[in-house]
């Protein structure tokens, strides 16, 4: 049983204040950078304390799931401020100015920070990044995401996919080629965040050419996961949109159900999406609970 935390992690209250001050001309970029480094050190320490198996940098400088990629690409730019799903958090929707956008260069350490141990990196899935641009996911995958993935030194790349599970007229088959285009480097996971994955699972989500699939178990019924699921399952058992702190024993019992009832051998416990939808104080507590679930799982199994 593994555990880790893909996605955008919330900024501390101090970093929130620093960025506000920067916007109002009351502090310097250097001061904000220093606070980002302090936030990152704290996040790493919390993950280590929790015993998480892969570290994340929390994407602390990412303004949303797409921004650094849009800024680094020729032919992609920020579009209108758009509500993220049914939350009160908004993102700048990707907008294409050409049919074949390309990445200008790899993302630097400001956006993929060095970490003191095995790590994961979160990127948008090709489908998510292509939404609303009119550019096919395959083109986005080959021209924008693949150069980023190839340059990464990571154990796992989690491709976050918030939209696919909510689209009525889509099928996992549409993701096959774009995901295949990203293969050959680090292990890949496709994580369907904040949604009911029943339909995509019925349509063959588990067969996509990735090493792991992420499912939100606050949206998906456990019985909708095929028995003997043959990949690593990123089990979204921590609700990133709720302020309620999960009970590790309840989550451990659920993990045992996945193992026993659904006959799943490889499980990683994760949040069901970006933890940025709760405050940093709550997110930190949730990370610590994730670690406790690992211990509790051993106890339940014994």
């Amino acid at each position: 049983m593994k555990a880790f935390a893909p996605g955008i992690y919330p900024r501390s209250e101090k970093l929130v204040q620093a960025t506000r001050d920067l916007d109002r001309g009351r502090t310097s970029e250097e001061a904000v950078d220093e606070q980002v480094e302090r936030d990152l050190a704290e996040l790493v320490a919390v993950q280590q304390q929790a015993g998480l198996d892969l570290l994340t940098d929390g994407m602390l400088r990412w303004q949303d799931l797409f921004r650094p990629l849009l800024d680094a690409s020729a032919g992609l730019e920020t579009g209108p401020l758009t509500r993220f799903l049914d939350t009160n958090t908004f993102y700048r929707a990707p907008h294409a100015t050409t049919a074949t956008p390309t990445l200008g260069g790899p993302l630097d350490e400001r956006y993929i920070a060095p970490l003191p141990g095995p790590r994961l990196v979160t990127l948008p899935s090709p489908f998510a990044l292509s939404q609303g641009t009119g550019v096919p996911p395959l083109t986005i995958g080959e021209n924008v995401l693949k150069p980023v993935v190839e340059a990464l030194d990571a154990e796992l790349v989690v491709l976050a996919e918030p939209f696919f599970g909510r689209e009525e007229a889509t099928s996992p088959a549409e993701l096959e080629e774009p995901l295949a285009a990203l293969a050959g480097g680090p292990s890949l996971a496709l994580q369907l965040t904040f949604c009911d994955a029943r339909k995509p699972l019925e349509q063959g989500l588990a067969e996509l050419p990735v090493d792991a699939i992420g499912i939100d178990f606050y949206g998906t019924h456990v019985s909708d996961v095929p028995k003997g699921f043959g990949k690593l399952l990123l089990a979204g058992v921590v609700d990133a949109r709720s302020s309620t702190i999960e009970d590790p024993r309840e989550l451990a019992q659920f993990a045992e159900r996945l193992r026993n009832e659904r006959e799943i051998e490889q499980i990683a416990l994760v949040p069901n999406g970006d933890l940025q939808f709760v405050s940093e104080r709550i997110a930190r507590e949730k990370l610590l609970r994730l670690g406790q679930v690992k211990t509790a799982t051993v106890e339940v199994a014994a």
Binding site: R83, T89, F90, Y91, R92, T220, S242
Partner: protein, 385 residues
């Protein structure tokens, strides 16, 4: 032909209030801000404020009241007919409401977008009103305003949808149980209606008792969940039903088509003030093709209870100052669609708190000028027929 102009809600807070609230020392520029705007707007006795700021250690509550006086004069001297104080004495529209209610606990800040964040609370028990939380402000503004007042009150549904739910929704047994949307909807309905009955309505009753004639229920969160619009409508009706006042609702930055047909049931709403300029062209013209941002207004016209439309004509997201002629053309197009200019009021898209006072003031003055141009054009057209 007379078209009523009104503000929507928030204005930026002056630096001398922001810094004092944050415990930051004031500098000469802050004092000069108070002096120059006091002179410009003709704020009675503003020299006293300047002296207070120069002495240092000003009283925060007193500064809040000064900021209210300045905001009132800013709106009044721009020519706006129905005003408030830009919510100078409130922390923020959501935070103010939950801070003064029982049943909530703060849960930190969450990103709105980029470096913008909002405070978010969780409902942890049945919500109730600690004490009417706009009374002091309203009583003060009644004594300070020269124009008629319209009070903005954050609506029940927006408070519900902007809060975490640690009380009404199930707290355990959710994991792997499938997407229980039915359960979620039932919990949200109970939460929003409890807020309407036990927090918003007593506030409204209290304001009416104090003499409020027009109360604007702010619902920027109304379209967050497309399948919850009936809950928004139900909670609005629960808040205002049977109360004797002019109630309006402010909606902004949504796909307004989503609101139909749900808001056909909002019979107690006498006016919808809605942001359109954000979606519109900056070119002049009075045809439908010239005014793409206003395409949806015929749906408001056709509501069975014939509400007034508060026509948003100022884009609050930009420093672009709309020329009076652009404001005029937006009004003329809306008047043509409605066929009855008396069902049109003129307002900004939303609160102007993200704009500087300089920009907000210019925009509002142009809105008033544009409204006069539209009145003249409508009068001329009326005379010709």
């Amino acid at each position: 032909m007379k078209l009523l102009t009104h503000e929507i809600g928030s204005l930026a807070k002056p630096p001398w209030l922001v810094k004092t609230s944050a415990g930051t020392p004031l500098d000469d520029g802050d004092v000069e801000h108070a002096r120059s705007w006091g002179d410009k707007l003709g704020v009675d006795g503003h020299e006293e404020l300047v002296e207070t700021l120069q002495r240092g250690s000003p009283d925060k509550a007193e500064l809040g009241r000064w900021a209210s006086r300045y905001a009132l004069r800013l709106l009044e001297s721009a020519g706006i007919e129905v005003v408030y104080d830009g919510e100078q004495q409130r922390t923020e529209m959501y935070a103010w409401a939950v801070e003064h209610s029982n049943g909530f606990q703060p849960r930190g800040t969450v990103r709105s977008f980029d470096n913008k964040y909002y405070s978010k609370a969780a409902v942890v028990a049945e919500p109730s009103l600690r004490e009417p939380y706009h009374n002091d402000e309203f009583a003060f503004l009644q004594s300070a305003a020269n124009h008629d007042l319209k009070i903005p009150v954050t609506g029940a549904y927006t408070i519900a949808v902007w809060s975490y739910d640690e009380h009404f929704a199930p707290q355990s047994g959710r994991i792997g149980a499938g997407h229980g949307r039915g359960e979620e909807l039932a919990a949200r309905r109970e939460f929003a209606n409890d807020l309407a009955r036990n927090v918003i309505r007593p506030n409204l009753e209290s304001l009416i008792e104090l003499g409020a004639k027009w109360i604007q229920i702010d619902e920027p969160g109304a379209s967050t969940e497309a399948d919850e619009l009936d809950i928004f409508v139900e909670s609005f009706n629960e808040s205002v039903e049977g109360l004797d006042c002019f109630f309006s609702t402010h909606l902004c930055f949504s796909d307004y088509d989503l609101f139909f047909p749900a808001i056909e049931q909002m019979h107690g709403c006498k006016q919808f003030c809605v942001g359109f300029a954000n979606y519109d062209s900056r070119e002049l013209g009075t045809s439908g093709a010239d005014r793409p941002g206003y395409e949806v207004i015929s749906k408001f016209r056709d509501l069975p209870y014939e509400p007034i439309l508060g026509l948003g004509v100022l884009d609050i997201h930009t420093d672009f100052v709309e020329p009076p002629e652009l404001v005029r053309d937006r009004i003329l197009y809306a008047s043509e669609v409605f066929g009855d200019p008396e069902r049109i009021h003129v307002c900004p898209d939303c609160g102007l708190r993200t704009r500087s006072w300089e920009v907000a003031y210019e925009k509002l003055k142009h809105m008033v000028e544009g409204t006069k141009l539209a009145e003249d054009a409508l009068a001329t057209a009326g005379a010709a027929t």
